[in-house]
Assembly symmetry: C2
Homo-oligomer: 397 residues x 2
């Protein structure tokens, strides 16, 4: 497996485009189209929020066929809490794209991100979708990745090449994140393409598994959006022997896909709204996997922990407190905590570290916090960020 | 029932004192003693955090006897995550007070609030406890309420008078709150005294019930501390017929006690760290009581909801989204939302309100948000505040 430059359009047979069509008042890019020149095997994971956006409802319905050929995505408007009219608008977006692309509307998936509760400006979409499709290009991945950004400060893409029994295959992806991140994928749109030849069931299993260890293990603010969508299209052009069950090839693909999703997930945490720190939080020796994940989420979503990290303050008591409040099985008398390699807490009590040493770690842009619960053998790793003045600033409107 | 001026020392037989003994580097008041001139029936509710402070562990043990006569409480140091030494220090605080007061050390309860993970400065406490006890006064309630403050911006006290079959009785209380508020009582110390004559079992039932509808229904930041403590002492001096079971007198007492705890709880939400708004959040027509409470907590702890409220932005989509992510049974198509009496959302869709009208409500210092889930008949009321720059500022160290 090696990382290659470029994003989703590094994958043979995939073209993309990103344009401005006037949804964003700023005039910024706000419409992306991703197109596979042949119908592709498709799988997806959607938000578990009970309030689901119209495009999530439509795409969730369509993904059941296991085939898709295009994705139309916009930023600037979530098309959520928009009722029947919103559903009609999402369907219409797909229809417009299908007509322009001369494909079956059922093969078009839709996704939206932005403000909730506003109707889509359909006349702008009508002109915009046509324009975006006329701009489709095998070099258009970066434009598309830029067009799905909301409060993101940089576009997020990655691509890799793998070898499946002598056949070169590719996976390329893009994501937008920033706020409402965690748990279980927050305002997050992620589109991935691959030329691996794989059946629908294994593709679904792989994407679910990869999302679980990546996007479900980041935390910006503990909110979860109505619009979260991860879609993967696999067009089979690599020519590898079709992956139809558990196999070495499946494992290679899963590892590669997890690398793609984890890389994108870390980019989201790094670009958390107002974030000044990127923190890898490792829970060790928890009673079981679920408890390890729960402890990681509880600590990383605590506003008191997050503000202390912003303040570069080694206030480890807040970590202990959020752990104790997490509902996870905890024996305070056996908990150890490290900042990078510096032991801060031993058996639940301050380890007598030199304050300046701890502060020097917390002053870094990236570091690791390890919490050892000392009661089992399960671990979890989560990527998170701090809570700064700028988080408040970004979110006051 | 009528509210009277004064706090805990409005209750006959109760004296209190608050002094500065040097725990706080600022030199501010940091030590309070509350004393009942006779052994009182005692009940308490403690944090459910699995990481419990030393004073919580000691007081929880001692309250089992159902009798107490004094409370020693300090701010500036939580005495949490301090191991065996911390337990010894908490016991020593009680012993010092008992010696000075010439009472059984088992009748002294202890409570601490402040930074976690630091040992208590026992030499300061030794001199301080003696000094505080020599300052005990039947007018000392306000001094004591001031001495337990941490990041609170005002002291929090209330007192009421009730009539029990012709006998006048009193309930007076104090609380400190500010950060780490929610759920299930956060860094919160609350001391209540009453001259009602009531047995231990009914006193415990009443305080648990009152806490449940008050302190467990406020949310500042969703954190829960290691030190939360609510203690009530009942000295029986009112001379009412002893409350020993469910009765009209019990109901009068419970309502009065709930008024006291609710009044104090609202003060905590109003004084939330950095808070600029005080919001009463009402959930209606939930599937059951537990779901109503869960929905209220989920909405009120969402950083995106809280920052929008700080920004006076009628971004109701964030309320819908946090509701959908709450895990509560929700049918988005029947949800209605009001700001005060202005309907904002009907059947999950914006109600076409005039934006300026909504903003005018959100500009107020206090208002109500009502969320009707439309699927059952259970309600819950919660008091919360917004998330401002100053919340971050207060918590960076």
């Amino acid at each position: 497996m090696k990382e290659i430059s470029g994003g989703i359009t590094s994958v043979p047979g995939i073209s993309a485009a990103g344009i401005a069509c006037g949804i964003k008042a700023s005039g910024g890019m706000d419409l992306a189209v991703i197109f596979s020149d042949e119908p592709a095997t498709a799988a997806a994971v959607f938000t578990t929020n009970k309030v689901k956006s119209a495009p999530v409802l439509i795409s969730r319905e369509r993904i059941r066929s296991g085939i898709a050929q295009a994705i139309v995505a916009n930023s600037g408007n979530a098309n959520a809490c928009t009722g029947e009219r919103g559903l009609g608008d999402a369907r219409k977006m797909a229809e417009l794209a299908a007509k322009s692309l001369k494909i079956d509307p059922e093969f078009v998936l839709v996704a939206s991100t932005g403000k909730i509760g506003r109707y889509m400006p359909m006349s702008k979409l009508e002109a915009g979708i046509e324009k975006a499709i006329s701009s489709l290009s095998p070099e258009g991945g970066h434009q598309a990745a830029t067009a799905i950004m909301t409060t993101d400060t940089f576009s997020k893409e990655v691509a890799i090449e793998i070898d499946l029994q002598g056949k070169k295959a590719h996976i390329g992806g893009m994501v937008k994140g920033a706020g409402m991140i965690e748990p279980n994928m927050a305002t997050m749109l992620c589109f991935i393409a691959t030329d691996v030849n794989i059946d629908r069931i294994m593709l679904q299993e792989a994407i679910k598994n990869a999302v679980d260890r990546s996007f479900n293990m980041i935390c910006v603010d503990g909110d979860m959006s109505t619009n979260d969508t991860v879609i993967i299209l696999a067009n089979g052009k690599s020519g590898n022997k079709k992956i139809e069950g558990q196999s070495d090839d499946y494992n290679i693909f899963l590892e590669a896909l997890s690398y793609v999703t984890t890389t994108l997930a870390k980019m989201i945490a790094k670009d958390g709204e107002g974030a000044t720190k990127f923190i890898e939080l490792i829970i060790k020796d928890a009673a079981n996997d679920q408890e390890a994940r729960k402890a990681a989420h509880a600590i990383s979503r605590s506003p008191l922990v997050k503000t202390a990290l912003f303040g570069e303050s080694p206030n480890w008591g807040r970590i202990m407190s959020s752990l104790g409040a997490s509902g996870v099985e905890v024996n305070p008398n056996v908990v150890d905590i490290w900042f990078d390699d510096l032991k801060i807490v031993e058996n639940g009590i301050g380890f007598g570290f030199v304050e300046e040493d701890a502060v020097n770690i917390l002053k870094k842009a990236e570091y690791t916090i390890t919490v050892n619960l000392g009661i089992g053998s399960s671990s979890a790793t989560l990527w998170t960020c701090d809570l700064s003045y700028d988080y408040v600033k970004v979110n006051v409107t």
